[in-house]
């Protein structure tokens, strides 16, 4: 049976729509800037750590999957199980952050900054902007996990879980576009 409303608090959806709009503009700015600098973008894209990007995609997708399991658990009144799945999702968020920091560190060690060239300006700003969203999502999910563990949610009342889940899936969705666009397509 279909639900009438979006999952979670409607306010988070306004936030999600705004975030998607900003990321969308960023992606299009990247794509059209590339159209004017094809050789530069193609050359420097080859210097990115594609393995790290691919692993991080699988990490975020898996983390999102765990969040789905958490939502399914609370819908069946399994609050502790819900908290555990969210805890695992946050853990994978930590793996993403760790790999991203290694990637940023490697670029920094090579002397690469925002002003190195147009490609790196986009690469660093886009991935760092997304990185900040991962951190924020981890904070939100941690709060939800603690509250779930303390019994604040039930099968009837779990808007908070769905709200946190919706935000985390948005972070995943954005990365699904970002990875092929910045790391692969040329």
């Amino acid at each position: 049976m279909k639900k009438q409303d979006l999952p979670g608090d409607f306010a988070i959806w306004i936030f999600i729509f705004a975030e998607l709009l900003v990321f969308g503009i960023f992606f299009l700015a990247y794509a059209f800037a590339r159209a004017a600098n094809v050789e530069l973008f193609n050359e420097y894209q080859q210097h990115l750590d594609r393995e790290s990007g691919a692993i991080n995609t699988v990490v975020l997708i898996t983390s999102s999957f765990f969040v789905v399991l958490a939502v399914n658990a609370i819908r069946h009144n399994a609050a502790q199980l819900c908290a555990r799945w969210i805890g695992l999702a946050v853990l994978l968020g930590g793996v993403f952050v760790y790999l991203k920091l290694l990637e940023f560190g490697s670029k920094y060690a090579d002397g690469i900054t925002l002003s190195t060239n147009t490609f790196y300006m986009f690469y660093l700003s886009l991935t760092f902007f997304h990185f900040m969203h991962v951190l924020m999502g981890m904070v939100i999910l941690t709060v939800v996990a603690v509250k779930a563990w303390q019994g604040a949610y039930s099968a009837e009342t779990h808007t908070g879980v769905e709200t946190g889940a919706s935000y985390w899936h948005m972070v995943d969705l954005v990365w699904i576009v970002l990875f092929p666009l910045v790391y692969v397509m040329h």
Partner: protein, 87 residues
């Protein structure tokens, strides 16, 4: 719960598989408009799977849910246009 979890597992497997294909395309160095089109199709499928089954919007009646799908399709089409103009 088990049925819902199994469905989510299948979606996860599809997402991982498509990600591995994307990675392989990059690793093998394939390029060109047809490759870009294939990658953008993969992005559309992955994105819609996340929207429908992870976000759970396939089970929602509210018209607001279309905002996310329209966003995804607009971004994918405009990225395709940008790449097409650069060929």
């Amino acid at each position: 719960m088990l049925t819902a979890n199994r469905k989510a597992l299948y979606v996860w497997l599809a997402l991982v598989l498509l990600t591995l294909v994307t990675y392989a395309v990059g690793k093998l160095g394939y390029a060109g408009m047809s490759v870009v089109a294939m990658l953008l199709l993969s992005v559309s499928i992955k994105g819609q799977l996340v929207i429908d089954y992870f976000m759970g919007l396939a089970q929602v009646q509210s018209r607001w849910k279309w905002v996310v799908t329209v966003w995804l399709l607009s971004v994918v089409l405009l990225i395709g246009l940008a790449y097409w103009t650069s060929v």
